[in-house]
Symmetry: C2
Subunit: 356 residues, 2 copies
Amino acid sequence: MSQTEPIRFGILGCADIARKLSRTILLSSTATISAVGSRTLSKATTFAKLNNFRPTAKVYGSYEEVLDDPNVDAVYLPLPTTLHVKWAVAAAKKGKHVLLEKPVAVSVKEFDEIVKVCEECGVRFMDGTMWMHHPRTEVMKEFLEDGEKFGKVKSIHTCFTFGADPDFLENNIRVKPDLDALGSLGDEGWYCARAILWANNYELPKTALAYREPVLNKAGVLLSCGASLYWEDGRVATFYCSFLSNLTMDITAVGTKGTLHVHDFIIPYEEKKASFYAASKSSFGVTRQPSKHVIENHLTQEALMVTEFSRLVAEIKLKNAKPEEKWPTISRKTQLILDAVKASIDKGFEPVQIQE
Amino acid sequence: MSQTEPIRFGILGCADIARKLSRTILLSSTATISAVGSRTLSKATTFAKLNNFRPTAKVYGSYEEVLDDPNVDAVYLPLPTTLHVKWAVAAAKKGKHVLLEKPVAVSVKEFDEIVKVCEECGVRFMDGTMWMHHPRTEVMKEFLEDGEKFGKVKSIHTCFTFGADPDFLENNIRVKPDLDALGSLGDEGWYCARAILWANNYELPKTALAYREPVLNKAGVLLSCGASLYWEDGRVATFYCSFLSNLTMDITAVGTKGTLHVHDFIIPYEEKKASFYAASKSSFGVTRQPSKHVIENHLTQEALMVTEFSRLVAEIKLKNAKPEEKWPTISRKTQLILDAVKASIDKGFEPVQIQE
């Protein structure tokens, strides 16, 4: 296989979320789709047709067949969270690299199983947190790391909410205890926890304390919740996530010398550019309004994610590189925060220590 | 006294904060300064000179003399919080209306004493929370009350921080336990608690839970702290305040159908106009960016506060109106939240019930 050959993806499952990434892969120069599997052949066939898969792409009536296909290098796994450990492990064992939707697992225990097998089998692991790959994210990080302009981070608040419609609240996998046991915490809180880690150089907080009065559905799945997180040096972070509020995607990071605001961190309002607001050494006396920074992006964040994952996979295919630890480590820390918040809720809103 | 005669203010104390309001009163058509008192005559004289008081304004070397001056209708009281109860009560007993800086007291118990005497003596009470009087505040409120555009409020986050210089952190009254015992919570958290109440139609939360790991100085005064607040219906609010971070003045209110962002709610970036961002029925599919709303104001928020207070005082002077309950009630609820957060900190971060 030459360096220019694209990484061949197999898609496991035909969830709504798989559409966007499938289209992105089809448009990518570094990746292609060579197979899709669903629980029924007809579902897979419909999905392939609707998304304009090439005629050469294989269509399977099971996930196993995708994993057995020698023309599949990597799988994209948008299945319900409960199924992640089973299918990510199965894929790795068949030598397939794994791009896994978030939350990566129901618990860090299950996630560790996934990573262990990926390491043993020498395959790449990455989660599907797209905003990490947007060029804006890097520019914002430069601001946060600027000792003069931002100083040291002191507090962060993040929020991810959207207003789910009645059908979602009744039927979506994200509100079913047997499919996505973490509900809003797993689906939305994942992004908040990630943003908090990102702004803290991935230094885990010491303690998590869930907000009181979370909203649960009849099956006990979280529809609304939040938490405060604490580091030993006095840093504090809070996040709120909900299926019951208007779409809001905020990070507010306050440092000793600067403040960062972004209002669309998960999915930018526009496809080709994205903005954030930065303020430095603000004072009452002089008007120092935050400055708006606009970052243009030629490729969408999902395309950039596919490119990065394909690059990592190609490193192994072409250069026999070892699996790197950056992405699995970040995923694990994110999951650790979710686990701690869930434990805090289960313990009646007691503080829970977070241990690596 | 005719309706056009301005309300005659006496200023008690020459704190920095008194300058801005003194200048505002001097420029006002509804109010004037007829006296200023300080602990020493020289301080009061210097203050009167520096701020261009009229030659007819009396200058006193004590607070008592201001209260005894028959040409004083109302007092502005920018003294350290610990002194509020003593001097607000003394002023009311002398028949002077009271415009009191925030926090209104060290505790609601002391505040109730102030209000009781104001009622008994038939004088007006208002606290000095200027942003309440900015026309933007009313326009934002209209958005929050719009059932179609904003829906029902679900979560609010507010933040007021500023980076105090070393001199402030060493010598300012706000870090002295005998002068401003509530520190950052009283000075900054006051605005956050008020904003949270304001966005909830002044419905008190049921429970307050202080953030863990607050930062205190050697004397035990809060330099950084925060809290989460809970209503029985699942609404949640959080706030963070600090003397150790870059100036940040945020309200983020998320409702079932809309989101409000304002980044300078306490002191607008500009004197003659102020903005906020409103989003309604935001969705992933269609780009629905928040819209920026700009509200022009002919008078500054401090001038509008003086105008409103003067109007209320004139109502009593001219029409024998009874003291109204709106402003004291709002002040009291704000203080109740601060008291509960302080109690939560003192109890080792236990939840504290808030009772009216």
